[in-house]
Amino acid sequence: MNDIENKLIRKAIDGDVDAFEKIMLSYEKKVYNISYQMFGNEQDAYDASQEVFIKLYKNIHSFKFDSSFATWLHRIAVNTCIDEYRKKKKHVQQAAYSFDESIENESSSIKRQIEDHALNPEQQIVQDETVNEVRYAIDQLKEEHKMIIILRDIRGHSYEEVSEILECSVGTVKSRLSRARSALKNIILENREQKT
């Protein structure tokens, strides 16, 4: 498997688009799912995943074959998703700020509608209340906690794989994951308290 993959990577490095497409096909779903869990909606996940593969295409020549390609690609995906998420969050915060201004000015109801749509993630349509609750809580986690929950609990990577993707020690993964789970639990509990 690795030999075939390495051959394809070498071809892709030499500019073979067909070889790149073959690599892409085996990782598309994995990357899209990380992205989806990070953004919680199809559109952002879609855009971020496309960005991941475009980055991969542009930087595949920098893959050194001394580590797992899957790990390397996951690292690109994680970093891209975190970057895009931060950009999005910043944009949402700015939009929320302008939304407040709009109310103050009572000038733009259209703008409010648009921003409202951007603020409401897709998980609101999800039928399962529990899943919806958890997903909503995940969305409130900070990026590093969110990512480690996605990689370990949702995507099912081992502590070692997570440590390689996030370029940290297994000990760090252990402690960070513990904190992330506690934080998620607390958010859910807080959210329940707010509801009641």
């Binding site: 030499d14 500019g15 688009v17 790149f20 497409e21 892409m24 096909l25 598309e28 779903k29 899209y32 799912n33 989806y36 869990q37 199809e42 996940a45 879609y46 995943s49 496309q50 593969f53 475009i54 295409y57 542009k58 529990t130 899943v131 958890v134 929950i149 370990r152 609990d153 949702i154 099912g156 502590y159 252990k174 994951l177 513990s178 789970r181 506690s182 998620l184 639990k185 859910i188």
Partner: protein
């Protein structure tokens, strides 16, 4: 003994079986005794199970197509490849093209040249054959002279001129007699020897004949000496004749060789030259290409 907060920090690792055996034992024994912590543990366990059961999302329709379209459309690598090729291999490409074009033209010219040479060779060979057939009797004659002269220097004279043969027979007959009797013979000898040095064989023979014709007037001893002396220069003469004839044969052979064998060798060299040139044309760009590739 660990407190509840410290134990709850280990829940995450305990769930994933990532605790050390000691930690594992501590958590296990604590959960058996602490209901509040057990409740918290069950809570975390349920949460992680929910997360584990999150459904995998399917890729939206057209995701792959759009991405491939973007990659093809942006095609930065397409341009890069071309630029890279232009940057790194333009020299090789130029050299290859040059060698290809001039190689084709050059080998075509060389082949034409070779064909012309072959035609010339065929022509000259036929000419040479004609010359050979014309020269053949002469060679045969010369060879005959040489071969027949070698065992007996005078035998050629015998065959060539009947007069001389007769004189020689006389010489043979009187060979036993004393050679130092008459001084007159010296002049004759000189005459004969000078005659023997004449280039023309027939003339020489004639001289010899005249020489011998004059002999009967002299004494028998004179005859003996003279003919004995004739034998010596005639041997010289024959040897010179032998040289001449052999030279002639050699010349003929050389001529034939030049028109035949040497031309064959020339064409062979030309063929080798073509092969070498073709090999160089093929190998040079390959070597340069490999060298550049290795360098990069």
């Amino acid at each position: 003994m660990m407190n509840c907060v410290e134990i709850q920090d280990l829940f995450s690792a305990y769930l994933d079986h990532e605790c050390t055996p000691e930690e594992n034992e501590l958590v296990k024994s604590h959960l058996e005794n602490c209901k509040a912590c057990l409740e918290q543990f069950e809570w975390t366990k349920a949460l992680v199970e929910k997360l584990n059961n999150f459904e995998e999302q399917e890729i939206p329709d057209g995701f792959h197509e759009k991405l491939m379209h973007k990659i093809h459309e942006l095609s930065p690598n397409k341009k890069n490849i071309f630029a890279k090729f232009r940057r790194n291999y333009s020299f090789v490409a130029a050299a290859f093209l040059f060698c290809l074009i001039f190689g084709v033209i050059g080998s075509g010219l060389l082949m034409n040249f070779a064909n012309q040479k072959t035609e010339d060779k065929v022509l000259s060979k036929s000419e040479a054959t004609q010359e050979q057939t014309m020269e053949a009797p002469q060679i045969a004659y010369n060879t005959a002279v040489t071969s027949q002269d070698s065992p007996n220097p005078t035998s050629a004279n015998k065959e060539m001129t009947p007069e001389l043969k007769m004189a020689d027979e006389t010489t043979d007959a009187t060979l036993d007699s004393d050679p130092t009797t008459n001084a007159d013979s010296t002049s004759d000898i000189t005459f004969d020897s000078s005659a023997a040095q004449e280039p023309s064989v027939s003339g020489e023979y004639e001289m010899a004949v005249t020489g011998t014709e004059e002999v009967p007037e002299n004494t028998e001893a004179d005859m003996q000496v003279k003919s004995a002396d004739i034998a010596t220069p005639s041997a010289e003469k024959n040897s010179s004749l032998q040289v001449d004839s052999s030279d002639q044969t050699n010349n003929n052979q050389e001529q034939i060789g030049y028109s035949g064998v040497n031309e064959d060798e020339g064409n062979k060299t030309l063929t080798y030259l073509i092969i070498v040139v073709a090999l160089v044309i093929l190998l040079v760009p390959i070597i340069v290409f490999l060298w550049i590739r290795k360098k990069h």
